[in-house]
């Protein structure tokens, strides 16, 4: 027998267990082992007193599925647990999660500092749509850490970015930018869609709110639209007077102060109570269930995605038809040291590469691959390709494309889980077609 005293260790559930179980208790759901799909609009009240208590946030529960739904609630709690957050709110898409976050944070007259390298739809939201609500933005290149600091104004209410920018794969220095945000008394909001909590937990690196398009790797099968915002619970809304809608009495709930009442979950409570009530981008229970199926295998899938992606980086880097490759796993990637620190479990499965021959070659490549799917999505189990300048980012003008780090020869590749040899063989077909126009013109 050993005399050594056993060290006390917390036995809270770990990532793989949480991805299967968090947020759900079968004994409260007729013993159903799988999460039931609560396909209902509304929920019976016990009596008038119970109804009033639910409407007034005096007790937890469900009223109407625009505000909350038991199936969606399991998903919300599960993602919050996986991210290490206090609370989460699921929405009908990633874009509605972003919109709801900004509308919960900001009022007309407010300003945001935003990374310039974002999904094209997000750029348009910040550049064109939010100004219609009186919310303006300053774009800063993701590697320009000091630029984020310089762009902060008196009315700035947050910094927003994607950890690994879409589609150029430039990393923002999340820990340093979080410090900049916190010194200014504002939160850092990170879209972590590319990473999923398996690859990176932004709260551990200073982020305050995390957003996902669950449509991508979290659901993972290209079947369902969904989004979510997750709260870290660490941001002190009462430290200054920048966030009156969080700290002052809110007329919509009898003078409630969200920050005083709900502290580490105040942002999510406000986003649900106000944002879902007024904007209503609710997630359907069927789609929530589909995402839950994906989450059950998240770590298994992410390992395979990353493994295939690293193989493709090696393959593309040596290929005669490829001008350049950008992926955080590549040793020559300018942010590889930062990626090693922030993405220890894998660098993700998004690759950007330049095809020799420019736009025409890119079009020929896209039109000739057979296994890889040409479509406007990422994070499917299947391999996906697109030419951003003519697809996802086609609504940008030339100057904006350049500022966002896009070039006309760029192909965006979302590496799937197929056999790696089959993906490479398919790419050979595409590259042969891409070389053909040049061969013809050279003759």
């Amino acid at each position: 027998m050993s005399d050594k005293k056993k060290e006390l260790k917390p036995n809270t559930y770990k990532f793989d267990t949480l991805s299967l179980h968090a947020g759900y208790q079968p004994h409260k759901n007729a013993g159903a082992r799988q999460v039931p799909i609560y396909q209902t609009t509304s929920y019976l009240f016990d009596d008038v007193d119970h109804a009033a208590a639910l409407f007034n946030l005096e007790r937890g529960g469900h009223i109407y599925s625009r505000i909350s739904n038991p199936t969606v609630g399991v998903l919300e709690e599960r993602v919050a647990s996986l991210e290490g957050g206090t609370a989460a709110l699921a929405t009908s898409s990633g874009m509605s999660a972003i919109f709801l976050t900004i509308m919960t944070l900001c009022e007309a007259g407010d300003h945001l500092v935003v990374s310039s390298q974002l999904y094209g739809g997000t750029v348009n939201l910040f550049r064109l749509t939010l100004p219609k609500f009186g919310i303006t933005c300053t774009f800063v290149k993701p590697r320009d850490t000091e630029g984020f600091k310089k762009a902060i104004k008196k009315n700035t209410k947050g910094i927003y970015g994607e950890l690994v920018g879409n589609p150029g794969n430039e990393l923002m220095n999340m820990p340093e930018i979080a410090n900049i945000a916190h010194e200014a008394g504002i939160p850092l909001i990170v879209d972590s869609t590319y990473q999923t909590p398996y690859l990176c937990k932004p709260f551990e690196h200073g982020a305050d709110i995390v957003i996902h398009s669950l449509t991508k790797w979290m659901a993972g099968h290209g079947s369902s639209m969904a989004g979510i915002l997750v709260e870290g619970g660490n941001f002190d809304w009462m430290q200054n007077d920048k966030f009156p809608t969080m700290t002052k009495p809110y007329e919509g709930y009898h003078g409630l102060s969200f920050a005083e009442e709900f502290g580490p979950t105040a942002f999510t409570m406000k986003a649900r109570a106000e944002g879902m009530r007024d904007f209503g981008p609710c997630l359907s229970p069927q789609n929530a269930w589909n995402v839950l199926q994906g989450l059950e295998t998240l770590s298994v899938r992410m390992k395979k995605h990353c493994e295939n992606a690293e193989e493709m980086v090696k393959y593309l880097s040596k290929h005669e038809s490829v001008a350049w490759v950008s992926h955080p796993s590549a040793p020559n990637h300018p942010d590889s040291a930062l990626a090693d620190k922030l993405l220890p479990n894998g660098k993700g499965s998004m690759i950007a590469f330049g095809i020799k021959g420019g736009k025409d070659a890119g079009v020929a490549f896209i039109n000739n691959v057979k296994l890889a799917s040409h479509l406007a999505n990422v994070g499917d189990t299947r391999t996906l390709v697109i030419h951003p300048a003519s697809g996802t980012h086609s609504q940008m003008d030339e100057a904006t494309l350049k500022f966002a780090g896009l070039s006309h020869d760029m192909i965006r590749l979302s590496v799937g889980m197929e056999d790696i040899d089959d993906i490479k063989n398919d790419f050979e077909i595409g590259f042969r077609a891409a070389r053909k126009p040049r061969l013809v013109s050279n003759q």
Binding site: K9, T12, E77, G84, Y253, E261, P264, T268, R272
Partner: protein, 272 residues
């Protein structure tokens, strides 16, 4: 709301309603290292049903000023001073965990002031695991992680929060880490460990008393809670199945339902 006690700022959540001196007063006292926010699923109901429902932050905790008090006896006197500072002569007390030690001691010291006493996850004594105590006193965040692990029952570890979207283990962790651990949890754990008067204090209590206990409570097991309750004349006991020490979050609805019946019966609201 904020007010002063012994020269320091005290923060109390009023459940979203303004303080009204005409209404009967309920004071909710949180557990070790935690804050008023642990009570959010109980306080708002009472605030909207004819009570001044105040979840206080103990000195040095949450949004209150001052330094953490070093003994349960000091905390008991401080709760009495809170009642005085609010201009009330009487109050109902509700405590969780360490808050039970505080409210039991307060009720025994100031029997004329306390109308009812409600204890959640209470015991006559809460001796601390020496290693856990040492971690907390040395500002080690592992102390919070261990507390959150032990404080939630097996079902609570899965989640399934009554408020959609909240993951309560992480929420509790954030509350316990919101101030410097050694100055809140460390001081509180030492105060609990030192306190030996719980059973004697319980014998002096004459007001209506309710104990809510949970079958999976590892921190204050049912048998300890029953032992305390057995020393209080006429004490009611309610036991929740499949629930751990954080019953006010894990089974918030059940706790509110039992608490509502007990308090409104023994200390009616203004409207009735």
């Amino acid at each position: 709301m904020k007010f002063k006690v012994n020269g320091d700022d005290v923060f109390a959540s009023t459940g979203g309603r303004p303080f009204d001196k005409k209404k009967p007063l309920i004071i909710f006292v949180h557990g070790s290292g935690l804050t008023h926010m642990t009570w959010v699923l109980q306080t708002r109901y009472f605030a909207f049903h004819g009570y001044n429902s105040l979840a206080i932050d103990l000195p040095g905790h949450g949004l209150s000023g001052g330094k953490s008090l070093k003994s349960i006896e000091e905390m008991a006197d401080w709760v009495s001073a809170v009642i005085d500072a609010l201009g009330h002569k009487r109050a109902s007390l509700v405590g969780h965990s360490q808050g039970c030690l505080v409210t039991v001691e307060c009720t025994s010291r100031y029997p004329d002031k306390i109308k009812t006493l409600s204890l959640m996850g209470g015991a006559g004594a809460i001796p601390m695991n020496p290693e856990l105590l040492s971690l907390a006193e040395n500002n080690d965040p592992k102390a919070v992680d261990l507390m959150m692990d032990w404080a939630h029952g097996p079902a609570g570890h899965f989640g399934g929060h009554p408020v959609p979207g909240l993951y309560h283990i992480n929420t509790g962790t954030m509350l316990a880490k919101s101030r410097t651990i050694q100055n809140t949890l460390g001081v509180d754990f030492r105060a609990c460990d030192n306190y030996k008067n719980g059973f004697e204090a319980a014998k002096k209590i004459k007001c209506p008393t309710l104990s809510i206990l949970a079958t999976d409570d590892k921190m204050c097991p049912v048998k300890e809670g029953k032992k305390l309750a057995s020393l209080i004349d006429g004490s009611q006991v309610d036991i929740i199945d499949n629930c751990g020490h954080m019953m006010l979050l894990e089974e918030a609805d059940r706790v509110l339902t039992v608490l509502k019946k007990f308090i409104t019966t023994n200390y009616p609201p203004l409207s009735s």
